[in-house]
């Protein structure tokens, strides 16, 4: 556990991706095999089932720290992370241990079936034996959510560095529902497997946001236009009658979307398409909220498949009949895509094409962009007719031309202290809109102001508190802010009846009085039926 605690310390101390990968690679070279396997499992969200509730964790931690529970709760609120709070409040002791990460993980698995008294004894003893970073890591094994800037992708890269096995092949090896109890490091990672190579994706080609007037791109006839769909960018591979689905983060997500399995029967062998994975409830494109219900889910139930099916809206073909066609012009590749769509016609597959449009003038293109929200897209994609499929984010041949965010003027009604550096400032705000003569909460936002503005608003909150609810302060409605957001959908879970996506503060409308803020009806008018 010492080495793992030290690894977490190093990962935590730097914000440089390269250094994180380097530290992790070194760990993967030096740690004993069972610890490596557990590290991979933990960083790919395969932690042991939580043996105790967070309520008990809090109670026992406050006891171990010799502080009242309410004081622990206050500290937790300000620190913002349970595992970290526990690690911070427990006093350092001189006792120690010589157990490995795998030992502790095994302990936690066994703990699951013990009674409460045994669990408590185990945790209190263990907390005392661990140093700060070990204790933090240990708590994270219990609570989950390491958030140390190591995605599965980066972990795979580090593992590739340490083992000299190709990164994409490792990504394939790591997929599926293995656990450290059902396999070994040797079996999972080191053993050669012919199949590994079949899954290999191509790097995605990503576009920059358009940073100039579109007319400056030259002759409009040289460009193809498509709507920019708001789902998950994905690559679908069919080779040897097997399907592999990769997401933009280059994570293998085949298991999560069983409805695509059917493509293996219809796609020619050696087909790779690039497209947008979209929710498709009731035979039309759903909201990102719908897709969320699929993304997080490990267990894909029949009910969920019926309620929120997904489709792929295809943009491009990267491999056609086993041949890498990325160097061929976009137009040619779209020809292959049309052939594929023809092959699959009338088979009722979850495969749709992202239609290509051509315009005679840039003004006509701009008009189509205005229509984006109506067709549930985020704007337009501009692709040069003769562009090859490049690697990574590149300027020149492809551009995204997004619509401007939606905005609304709302009133600040509640404030909460921020976390971390901002713990002594009120920086987490709740905003409301008018509903007749009442202000109704519609969104929370905590970014978009400068430090100086946050300090000013903080001052306002401290001087204009009308009520306190735990950490939340109700303030005199007086300040108006322009709130921007990307999407909007009806919602039963929200008091306002509306859910907005990515709300953030655009600017402080010091020029506006609260009477001039928008109403809930103004907001609802932005929903596209």
């Amino acid at each position: 556990m010492k080495a793992f605690g030290e690894l977490i310390r190093i990962l935590d101390a730097t914000n440089k991706t390269n250094e994180k990968v380097k530290a992790l690679a070194t760990y993967f070279k030096e740690a004993p095999a069972p610890d490596k396997l557990w590290t991979i499992a933990l960083l790919s969200h395969r932690r042991p089932k939580r043996p105790v509730t967070t309520t008990l964790l809090r109670e026992w931690a406050s006891e171990a720290a010799h502080i009242p529970l309410w004081l622990f709760e206050e500290s937790y609120h300000i620190v913002g992370d349970l595992a970290e709070t526990i690690a911070l409040v427990i006093p350092e002791e001189s006792v120690t241990h010589d157990k490995s990460l795998a030992d502790f993980a095994t302990d936690l698995l066994a703990l699951y079936n013990k009674d409460e008294q045994q669990k408590k004894e185990y945790l209190l003893t263990t907390w005392q034996q661990l140093d700060y970073y070990e204790r933090f890591a240990f708590n994270k094994i219990i609570t989950g959510g390491f958030r140390i800037g190591i995605s599965q992708k980066l972990m795979t890269r580090a593992l590739a560095k340490a083992t000299e096995i190709d990164e994409d092949i490792l990504a394939y090896k790591l997929m599926g529902d293995w656990t450290p109890q059902t396999t070994t490091f040797n079996k999972l990672i080191l053993e050669e497997n012919e199949e590994d190579y079949l899954s290999k994706p191509y790097p995605f080609y990503l576009a920059y946001a358009l940073d100039q007037e579109p007319a400056e791109l030259g002759d409009v006839s040289e460009w193809s236009f498509e709507h920019k769909w708001d789902g998950i960018r994905a690559q679908l591979i069919v080779r040897n009658k097997e399907l592999f689905v990769w997401s933009r983060g280059e994570e293998l997500v085949t298991d999560k979307y069983p409805e695509f399995e059917v493509f293996t029967e219809h796609f020619p062998d050696g087909t790779v398409i690039d497209g947008e994975l979209l929710p498709y409830p009731n035979n039309s494109i759903g909201t990102f909220n719908d897709l969320q219900t699929r993304i997080g889910r490990k267990n894909i139930t029949k009910k969920l498949l019926e309620k929120t099916p997904v489709i792929i809206k295809a943009y491009d073909v990267l491999e056609w009949k086993g041949e890498d066609v990325r160097e061929q012009p976009f137009k040619t590749r779209r020809g292959y895509l049309n052939q594929l769509i023809q092959l699959c016609k009338d088979k009722n597959l979850p495969l749709y094409i992202s239609e290509v449009m051509h315009f005679n003038t840039w003004e006509a293109a701009a008009k189509e962009r205005e229509r984006s929200r109506d067709v549930k897209s985020e704007g337009l994609m501009l692709k040069r007719n003769d562009s090859p499929y490049l690697i990574g984010r590149k300027k020149g041949d492809w551009w995204k031309w997004k619509v401007d965010p939606l905005t609304i003027d709302a009133v600040l009604t509640y404030a909460m202290r921020g976390h971390g550096r901002r713990t002594n400032l009120f920086t987490d705000y709740t905003f409301a809109l008018w509903d007749n003569n009442e202000l109704v909460t519609f969104a929370k936002a905590y970014s978009g102001l400068t430090d100086a503005e946050f300090r000013q608003v903080d001052n306002f909150v401290k001087r204009n508190t009308t009520d306190k609810f735990g950490p939340v302060r109700q303030v005199t409605p007086e300040l108006v802010f322009e709130i921007a957001f990307e999407g909007i959908a009806p919602s039963k879970r929200h008091k306002s009846g509306v859910a907005v996506r990515f709300p953030r503060i655009l600017r402080w409308r010091q020029d506006k009085k609260i009477e001039e803020a928008n109403s809930l009806d103004d907001l609802k008018a932005l929903i596209i039926e």
Binding site: T14, N15, I67, E74, I78, T85, L88, H419, G420, N424
Partner: protein, 339 residues
Amino acid sequence: MKTPLLQFTEKGIYCQQANVYLDPWKKVDNALITHGHADHSRWGHKKYITQHDNVPIIKHRLGAIEATGVNYNEKIIINNVTFSFHPAGHIPGSSQIRVAHKGDVWVFTGDYKLHPDGLSVPYEPVKCNSFITECTFGLPAFKWRPQQEVFNDINEWWKTNKAEGKTSVLFGYSLGKAQRLIKNLDTSIGTIYTHAAVENLNEVIRPHFSLPDTVRITADTDKKAIAGNIIIAPPSAHGTPWLRRFAPFVTATASGWMAFRGARRRRAVDRGFVLSDHCDWNELLTAIKETGCEKVITTHGYTDVFSKYLQTLGYDARTEQTQYEGENAETNEENEVTS
């Protein structure tokens, strides 16, 4: 009910009997000043009384003011009230102020820390009945590691950067934190370069406190000579063209707030070192116990939480609103100094 010896008024902490204020935030005639940070020593009072070492510091910050210096433990009697300054260990020239009248003894801490930092005169507990204490870090989640361990990390960080051909840039408030960093760096690794705001204060402090040699960065400073060495600069220098010309470099901040992972991540610096000039949780509790006081008044920081906890320990504890701002004020001050 008789008027308490010290009252919280809209101008500051006031002793009516002697007609003086302690660290007032509005203009008054007579101000007793604990230390030189902007939220404790403000401009515009008629007369300032403070510990000797703090006189040049507040004169540097506030310009032509009428300031009188006194020694630690020296008694000043005004209309039968006895005032004295005692080391607070916060920054060079920082004091607690003891106020006594007919057996009623109050102590106002200003800002303070218990563990010696190798530079400022270490904190000394002062017995009292009523203790007015800051509690900037008054939560059990704040526990400082021994200073030597932190400096081992800082020096190790500097060494690594140097080996990679990079300059180290360490941010700390130009009054107090900067000098503490300078004092404790391992100068066998390289040369310490300073931002003008820091060096100006070094010059003010050097006659009374021994500091290692530092080199002021000017327009003529040779960029190449700095490579691999360390620059001490105020946080406000972060992201400025002034700093950019020293690339390639690695940045770090030293502050108590760095105790939280979220804070470390949100700061756009490469590294956060947990180093504070304020008391941590245990220091606060120790300090209160050592004064033998019955009454505690908490000022800046997590005041409500902290005084509520003190009540559970049996103290007569309450919170008073002040305009002291803890480590934030010190950051604001940097903005003033450099802009």
